[in-house]
Amino acid sequence: MLRLEARPEPSRAMMVASPLIAAAAMLVTGSILFRFLGQEPLHAFYVYFVLPVTSAYGLGELLLKATPLVLCGVGLALGFRASVWNIGADGQLTMGAVAAGCVALYFQDVESHWVLPLMLLAGALGGMLWAAIPALLRTRFNTSEILVSLMLVYVAYLFLSYTVHGPLRDPDGYNFPQSKMFSDSALLPLLFEGLRVNLAFVLALVLVAGAWFFCSRSFAGYRMQVSGMAPAAAAYAGFGETRNVWLAFMISGATAGLAGVGEVAGPIGQLQPAIPGGYGFAAIIVAYVGRLHPLGVLLAALLMSLLYIGGESAQMELQLPSAITGLFQGLLLFYLLAADLFIHYRFKPRLREAPVAAAKPAEEGV
């Protein structure tokens, strides 16, 4: 029997290796799964993980899907480092999309370069506003930000649904619950002719660099890190908890809001009853697979994006159900959490056989 024992200090090697181990374990489990689904595992893997990125169009789709994951993931990672658990990025994304949509529809007939920046601003503010609710409740009434932010996701979904069924519905849209298509000046410019990836990806890269700088150089980043690692030390040093919670929610709310803008001003081009994807939830996995590090988040978002488009490819080529995407995402997180155990623990080999005898002279004593 192997036993676990605590490592004297956390293993840095495991910290890096853990996501790779998790990815490998996901592939192994996946091949067993494919076998049971009656697929040839190697071919299925090819279809799932290679085929989607063999064309320029596929690569463009990879970056397109990665964009909201990077945006949400970077913000969440900063918050998670500070032990502020914003689970509601999907709601903040939705509200960012609604806010940006309102701006786009208001300036429907205006041809100006100012419409897009205004939409980005509105989207960030929308996300921050939605994130402010759990932040306020947590700092004023000590509520659990996990529950509040999660529940607000569904409120945000319903609010979006209300707007497209009501005030923002396209009057010429045959009663379909969707807004008018945005004008060209309210759409993010494409990066390459013929690909759908747009300027939001560049914005995401800039935010990754900014977040990296924030974490490694700024004193505010240091304060958040200390608050996350040792709350008592933060209190001792005079880093207020209130400021920490607000900062974490404002950052992650703003980036999630921007992700929402990227969706409605990008591939969707209008407001619909639901922003598909659940990127705000997937970004939680992205943040952790990326070790809460901005550069790691970028790589993890690309991996997660591949899972998304690979899932679509598998649906089309192999007639596998769409649930396959969620399954792979779940496997990845599951194995990651399992592998993370070995950052702080290791197997202890049994050197000698366990002493079997209990206290032998049992007739002694009381």
């Binding site: 024992e5 605590a6 490592r7 004297p8 200090e9 956390p10 150089r217 700024s218 004193f219 505010a220 240091y222 890190q225 200390v226 690692m229 040792a230 008592a232 030390a233 209190a235 001792y236 040093a237 005079g238 880093f239 207020g240 050197l351 000698r352 002493p355 005898a357 209990a358 206290a359 032998k360 002279p361 049992a362 002694e364 004593g365 009381v366």
Partner: protein, 523 residues
Amino acid sequence: MNAPAPPGGTPPRLQLTGISKIYPSVVANDKVNLTVQAGEIHAVLGENGAGKSTLMKIIYGVTHPDAGEVFWEGRPVHIESPRAARKLGIGMVFQHFSLFETLTVAENISLAMDEKAAPAALAPRIKQVSEDYGLPVDPMRLVHSMSVGERQRVEIVRCLLQQPKLLIMDEPTSVLTPQAVLKLFESLRRLAAEGCSILYISHKLDEIQALCDQATVLRAGRLSGTARPKQETPRSLAELMIGKELPVCHLEPRPTAEVRLALRKLNLNSDDPFGTALKDLDLEVRSGEIVGIAGISGNGQQELLKALSGEARLADPAALQIMGQDAGGLDPAARRERGLCFVPEERLGRGAVPDLSLADNALLTGYVPQYGTGMVRRGLVQRAAVTDFARKVIERFNVKCGGAGAAAGSLSGGNLQKFIVGRETLLAPKLMVVAQPTWGVDIGASMLIRQAIIDLRDAGVAVLVLSEELEELFMMSDRIAVLADGRLSQAVPIASTSVNQIGIWMSGTFAASADGGAHHAQA
């Protein structure tokens, strides 16, 4: 190794031979031998981290040795669990009690007994045993209403009910007043006279000399010697314990100047339901003096520390004044801006972040612009300044570590405390508050830390030290006060008081207000 059976004589009650216990980061016991005779009070002496507690846990079956043998009355045994140990006749009184506060004494004891016995049936036995050994406890009393000393009696009585042949006491006096210690010793002597062996763990030399027949001394996990304490001097015992000549620190009288810290009728309710509220605390600490606050933990120490650091704000801003200005409503950062530096009692997780490097831990409090360290400019961390500062602390305070990049959690307790005291010292405080300066720190490092605090005072800093170690406070304070049950005695000059006097105050008997013999010291 053979079972020791001296021809003709009775075998020793307990004998350990070649016991080793290896943890991933440290060798806790290295081939330790220990022999305890029947009816003997046997001291196990050693500094913090010398391996005493591990050895006791092995005897009590809490952990198992990696090598070595245990003989009980001459026969080899494997003590698999505490239950097996109790079955052999081994009882242990832990340093930290495990009592349910909301239950009565009899209910607590009933829960802890191996054989099932109803509280009501146990009550007369508890009364009998406790009176026989001079440890009076009322079996029907609720534990939450009892003092720490009384709770300890409950734990001892619990062990005595099992009629132990060996009683292990782990640092039993750390929570007792000097008077309660004497009473405990009487009971232990009576117990030993009846043939029960006692293993007495401590690092307090005077107690061991007063109580114990034999001593086994551990140093860094190894057996460093055995001695008859009554034939040794405290000095020779200490040298056995730390292996070199004792360093000393010097305190020369010097004039004091202006008041830098003042408590004026400070009141604070504890946010912990089992905490102690502070009631009308009055105190002044002047530039160039060290004021010591004695008292046993749990008498308002946590609350006072939080009130001083700013982790708890006071309703009345004037109740706490720093450098002559009201500071009761300020947060920790604002108090530091006024010249306060603070060494908390908890090193890992409060005084330092375990997973961060020493350099990053220097930034933890060094960021305050008024300290002039230049660690933060325009919101950005200045790496070079931070690392320089950490290196200076490491060098000046002889912190043994892998450099400024080493994680704080990788340091030993003593070295981390040197780093924290050093950090706060080099930030050039005007007012320094130090809690438990040498808790769990070996004697060598203790002396260095005490001397550093005395040097601060000589440089004109006002210093407040909270400690459970009376000896330490008498060594380094100009004046001393006692915090008991949330009330603070007046601060009297060291020269005009005695350990005995302070001991009586520690049990809560003192006039809280003015007109004491040494009030002139505050004028």
